[in-house]
């Protein structure tokens, strides 16, 4: 008893309080680092080769149709005053463009990642909730999210509001294969080009039927030729906020040069790919980019297990892998020469 009293203040003897927790104490010794570098190097070279070969096998066709060059068929459409301008670009393939082929449009020097631009949309509105619009104070309120495309000059609410929606890409493409000097249309499939989550959850149409009624007392975005409920005249289901092209556009790009999916070539005889031959791409040229030194392009591409063509990733893997192997040799030499810390 007295012994216990005498040591009442003695600290507990646990591994934690005495800082003796069992631990792994790694150290950067030659036995770990050098083989580690070799393994990483070899693995990276392996991955690099696989990526590079795969990437090489992906076929890509890029066509710039901005019309800067005077000999370009789209040169005439460069001027924005020309309305409903169409231009045709011909190209030929000498071998099969393996399917499924994806058609993209690409913009460069276009800052969809600009902060104010990215913020300029109304997430609630795009979920189909237009109840705010009935509120008489809607247009009087100070601008919050959709600035400066919230209401038009007559204080009527713009739906869908905001910069992103307003600037929606509206060039159209039609592809024809020239068979015996007659044009055979290549069917372009616009279904399912947007993310499933965007189509089913993030964007919803107002539950009103017909859709048009939900847009009463609103105006279309200023730059749009048609209101949202008439985006796709061919398919009534592809209208409103769940129009596939609209969804693709609304998923704004991270970088100023980007491509977005336009259509897939998945139907009929072209499902296996574009056969060798001559093609004509008919472009409905509406979208102005020359003012901001932008470029527009159309990209045809197929994909692999690692996505689209990207030689860069494979090359980086190869370079890093080789550097690792080289460094491991350097380290080995240094280690052999200095043999730390045997001198002690």
């Amino acid at each position: 008893m007295s012994k216990e009293e005498n040591t009442a203040n003695r600290p507990d003897n646990t591994a934690f309080t005495q800082q003796r927790l069992p631990a792994w104490q790694p150290m950067l010794s030659a036995g770990i680092v050098i083989p580690g570098f070799v393994i990483i190097g070899v693995a990276f070279i392996g991955i690099g080769v696989a990526l590079f070969v795969t990437s090489q096998n992906i076929q890509v066709l890029e066509i710039d149709y901005t019309g800067i060059e005077t000999n370009s068929s789209c040169f005439k459409c460069k001027n924005t005053s020309v309305k409903n301008c169409n231009c045709t670009i011909n190209f030929s393939r000498d071998k099969l463009f393996k399917g499924p082929v994806f058609v993209y449009y690409g913009l460069s020097n276009y800052f969809q990642n600009y902060r104010q631009y990215g913020a300029s949309k109304d997430a609630t509105q795009l979920t189909g909730d237009l109840s705010d619009l009935g509120d008489p104070s809607y247009c009087k309120e100070p601008c919050e999210t959709c600035c400066p495309y919230r209401k038009d000059a007559n204080d009527k609410p713009i739906v869908p509001c905001g910069s992103i929606a307003n600037s929606m890409f509206n060039d159209t493409f039609k592809l024809f294969q020239i068979v015996n000097s007659s044009n055979v249309a290549v069917p372009l499939d616009g279904k399912g080009i947007a993310w499933w989550t965007d189509y089913n959850i993030k964007y919803r149409n107002p539950p009103t039927n017909p859709l048009k009624n939900a847009f009463n007392d609103t105006v279309k975005p200023i730059f749009w030729p048609r209101p949202a409920y008439e985006l796709d005249p061919t398919n009534p289901a592809n209208n409103g906020f769940i129009n596939q092209d609209f969804l693709v556009w609304m998923r704004r790009s991270a970088l100023p040069n980007f491509t977005k999916l336009y259509r897939r070539i998945t139907e009929g005889e072209y499902a296996k790919g574009l056969p060798a031959g001559d093609y004509a791409l008919v472009i409905g040229y509406n979208y102005p980019v020359v003012e901001f030194d932008g470029r527009k392009k159309v990209v045809f591409s197929n994909v692999s297990w690692m996505g689209g063509k990207n030689l860069f990733l494979g090359i980086v893997y190869l370079v890093i892998g080789s550097l690792c192997v080289v460094m491991s040799i350097v380290m080995l030499i240094v280690y052999a020469k200095f043999k730390f810390p045997d001198e002690e």
């Binding site: 600290p11 309080t17 600009y114 693709v248 998923r251 996505g307 990207n310 460094m327």
Partner: protein, 872 residues
């Protein structure tokens, strides 16, 4: 955002400090079982500074020593007593198991006294005349007061603990000093009461280094008993003692080698006629109005001749446990130790030797004890000229030259050889004056050990302040008593020795524990770890936030400088708060490069802390550079792999939300891997924290990007589906792998090559430790520290002169209360005011500095001032 980081930084720092303080409180190896006192961190803010201490200022009494004097050995008539031998004649160390001499034959024996050599008590019982004479001398020749509380219960009031120890030894060996009057001394000689007539006390002073009494025995024989420093006694011996003197000298050297304090004892029988003549002269001299002191000295010289040597005593000023080892360790860790004590120079110096602070191997130990500024200056000058002979002879000391620019720290001079410096309070007062302080500091810093003796509490603080002012170094003061408080408060870190003498020191300290030796654990283990952990934490914390932020810098060039964030807002919020908070806390609470045993084994590991190598501007710069590189990788690898790229299903990959998810995942992997690299002590908790954080990240991310949350708050969770749609892509994972590995590879290469080519002490010890992983480090050699015997140790008088006169003057009887009080303090011109206890806190001399001491302990001094006036 910045605000959040700052708050998180300070919160994390506080948690780490708190944790490390708790470790100190919890440490069983800093727990003193005898007094049941654990170590206590009374502050949580200074832990990492414990790893950067450059100067330790230590009190002596109660800190280095226990303030217990024990009669340890003696030599009588050429034979030593006190050592214990086994059957084979081998000398044994005294341990707890050694049999103690039984003093039960003597009812008046002090039960606390212990002695291990049985032969001495046998010799006393046999009645060998030299042995009896030896103890008779000890019982008679002193200025101790006895107090008989009840029958057989004696208490001694000695002016110095040394004297008390000697009289107590005599008491136990059967020569019990019982009482004294101004004219007589009563002792029990082997159970027989004897009353000696006290004829004269030839008092001690610093010059004489001896004291004598002249007594008339009950048989009527007049004898002179003398004890004093051996050198002084040996000069005055009868030539017949030559042989004995040689043997005794040998023994004295041996004692000195053990760090004991010695006194030589001698006696002579005085011729009655001679004595009566001498007595008359003495009376005349002591009443003379002029030259009294000189006349008395002359008379004393006359009678203290022709002595017969009896032997010598050896007294141990008991050090606290493990003090020499601790000081040796701290010295190896390149910590400079300054002892600031109120004790006499002799005592302080002696303790300096016995606790390994001053060493025989030292090239020189300078003594500065001048009484005028010029003298002090001269002594300092000759000291540094010895140490730096290459400095031009007669060069005038120019503070500006040494100090360099105003405001910069005084540099350490490199000196070949080891030196010590002893300075007394009187000289220190001059040395601390503005004109000389730099020269003093400069000189003192060249020495390995500095001892300041006879200093006042105020001077202690002044010395600390001086070092703090001119050396950009972290200082620590350790002490146990009220007189150390000023010093403890002045230093960066104050340590109080608890459980011994009052609480003033402890209550004004930052850390407290019961034994001086715990200081090495506090500094070399806890301090070093705390510093290491804090530096690792800061470096990593800056790294992860710089990396996080710099990515935005690169992104700005690609988003039109619109301040668009790269990551999801939720990620930004949770990054510091959740995803990376625990792993770095785990690192900074558990990390240890090598364990405590190795830290002790290699005290040099402490040096990087003193130079603040782990978190200097250079380290900060490296950390920023590293972040710059990481952020480049973190931005541009995802950039090139995602721009213009497609997913496996043909949809485009380069949208902002996917890019954000990929970059933030890369970032998190990178900082986690980086953390793993920093970690040298990987416990299960660390694994849990790191893996847990990553899992938590994915869990939280998938939850926040889920359909349900979006339906509840559409505008708050706009990243819906991004995690699902992005993290199922093989090229995304290849990007993450590439980025994380690429961020780490150069660091690995750099570290590996640095370890190979320019290994630091840490690397070497870590390597050694890992090699001997299973085996604990070889136990540090606990050899008994013996020093060579070339130097004679100090003689065992720690008190001042003036007592003899008092004892014979009857004056002390006027205030009987005084003899009961432990504060029995007569004052002549010099004295300590607490003779029994500490003798540390008084002003040294007759000089003008007395004023300070009087200010400190004014009341008690004034009280005795009256007494003194009456005495004179």
């Amino acid at each position: 955002m910045e605000c959040l980081i700052t708050i998180l930084l300070s919160i994390s720092v506080e948690i780490i400090r708190l944790g490390n303080s708790f470790y100190i409180d919890w440490d069983r190896k800093m727990y003193d079982a005898r007094s049941d006192t654990p170590a206590e961190a009374r502050t949580t803010t200074l832990n990492e500074e414990l790893g950067q201490i450059k100067y330790i200022f230590s009190d002596k009494t109660g800190t280095l020593t226990q303030n217990i004097m024990t009669f340890n050995k003696c030599t009588i008539n050429g034979k030593t007593y006190g050592d214990v031998y086994d059957y084979l004649g081998q000398r044994q160390d005294v341990t707890e198991n050694t049999e103690v001499v039984d003093f039960s034959f003597n009812p008046l024996a002090d039960p606390k006294f212990s002695f291990y050599d049985h032969s001495l008590v046998e010799a006393v019982k046999l009645g060998i005349p030299e042995v009896q004479g030896f103890f008779r001398l000890l019982a008679l020749c002193h200025t101790v007061m006895a107090e008989e509380k009840s029958k057989d219960q004696l208490a001694y009031q000695a002016q110095s603990p040394d004297e008390g120890a000697l009289v107590t030894a005599a008491r136990n060996f059967g020569f019990v000093f019982r009482s004294r009057t101004p004219e007589s001394i009563t002792i029990m000689e082997m159970g027989k009461q004897q009353r000696y007539e006290l004829l004269a006390i030839l008092d001690f002073d610093n010059v004489r280094k001896r004291m004598s009494v002249i007594v008339r025995s009950p048989e009527g024989k007049v004898s002179l008993y003398c004890k004093g420093a051996d050198s002084v006694i040996f000069e005055r011996l009868n030539p017949s003692c030559r042989k004995l003197m040689e043997v005794t000298t040998e023994h004295l050297n041996e004692f000195a080698g053990d760090g004991l304090r010695t006194l030589a004892l001698a006696y002579k029988d005085v011729d009655e006629d001679f004595f009566s003549r001498w007595k008359q002269q003495h009376h005349k001299a002591s009443t003379a109005l002029e030259n009294r002191e000189a006349q008395l000295d002359q008379l004393f010289e006359e009678i203290e001749t022709d002595l017969l040597l009896l032997g010598a005593t050896a007294i141990e000023d008991k050090l606290q446990d493990g003090v020499p080892q601790t000081i040796e360790q701290l010295a190896k860790a390149d910590i400079k130790i300054w002892v600031l004590t109120g004790d006499k120079q002799e005592t302080a110096e002696n303790i300096g030797y016995s606790c390994n602070l001053l060493r025989e191997e030292m090239n020189d130990v300078f003594i500065v004890s001048g009484n005028t500024p010029e003298e002090v200056k001269q002594q300092l000058r000759s000291a540094w000229m010895t140490m730096k002979p290459d400095m031009a002879e007669g060069m005038v000391f120019l503070p500006e030259k040494i100090l360099g620019k105003v405001g910069s720290a005084l540099k350490d001079e490199v000196v070949s050889g080891e030196y010590g410096l002893v300075i007394n309070g009187n000289s220190l007062a001059y040395a601390l004056e503005e004109a000389m302080e730099l020269e003093f500091l400069w000189t003192a810093c060249m020495c390995q050990a500095v001892i300041c003796c006879r200093v006042t509490p105020l001077q202690k603080a002044q010395v600390v302040e001086l070092v703090k002012k001119y050396k950009k170094a972290v200082t620590l003061a350790i002490g146990d008593g009220a007189n150390d408080v000023s010093m403890i408060k002045a230093a960066h870190i104050g340590v109080g020795i608890s459980g011994q003498e009052g609480m003033q020191a402890v209550s004004s300290s930052d850390y407290s524990f019961a034994q001086f030796r715990f200081l090495q654990r506090l500094l070399l283990v806890h301090g070093r770890w705390s510093y290491l952990r804090m530096c690792k934490f800061l470096r990593y914390f800056f790294y992860k936030n710089f990396t996080f932020t710099f990515v935005h810098f690169w992104f700005a060039f690609f988003c039109g400088f619109s301040a668009q964030t790269v990551y999801d807002e939720w990620f930004i919020t949770l990054y510091n708060l959740v995803y990376t908070a625990l792993p770095v806390l785990g690192l900074s609470l558990f990390d240890q490069d090598v364990n405590d045993a190795w830290s002790f084994q290699h005290p040099q590991l402490y040096v990087p802390g003193q130079l603040n190598l782990y978190f200097s501007k250079m380290a900060f710069f490296k950390c920023a550079l590293h972040s710059g590189f990481s952020s480049l990788v973190l931005f541009f690898i995802p950039y090139v792999s995602m721009s213009d790229s497609m997913r496996q299903d043909g949809k485009d990959l380069g949208d902002y939300q996917s890019f954000a998810v990929v970059t933030q995942t890369c970032l998190l992997f990178t900082v986690c891997i980086q953390l793993s690299l920093e970690m040298s002590y990987w416990t299960a908790v660390n694994t849990l924290f790191i893996v847990g954080s990553l899992l938590l990240y994915f869990g939280v991310t998938f939850t926040m990007y889920s359909n349900g949350l979006f339906r509840l708050f559409p505008s708050a969770f706009s990243f819906i589906g991004t995690a699902r749609n992005t993290l199922n892509q093989s090229n995304v994972w290849l990007t993450i792998l590439l980025t994380s590995i690429l961020c780490v590879l150069p660091v690995l290469t750099y570290r590996f090559l640095t370890i190979q080519l320019w290994p630091t002490i840490n690397d070497k010890v870590m390597f050694k430790a890992r090699q001997a992983k299973a085996a604990p480090p070889p136990p540090s050699k606990r050899t008994r520290i013996r020093r060579g015997s070339s130097r004679r140790s100090g003689y065992a008088f720690s008190h001042a002169q003036g007592y003899g006169e008092l004892v014979t003057s009857r004056r002390f009887l006027r205030r009987p209360a005084v003899s009961h009080s432990s504060h029995f303090t007569p004052m002549k011109s010099t004295s300590s005011f607490i003779p029994m206890g500490r003798s540390a806190g008084y002003s040294p001399t007759d000089g003008p500095h007395n004023a300070k001491a009087q200010g400190v302990e004014g009341t008690s001094l004034q009280m005795y001032r009256i007494l003194q006036d009456q005495t004179l």
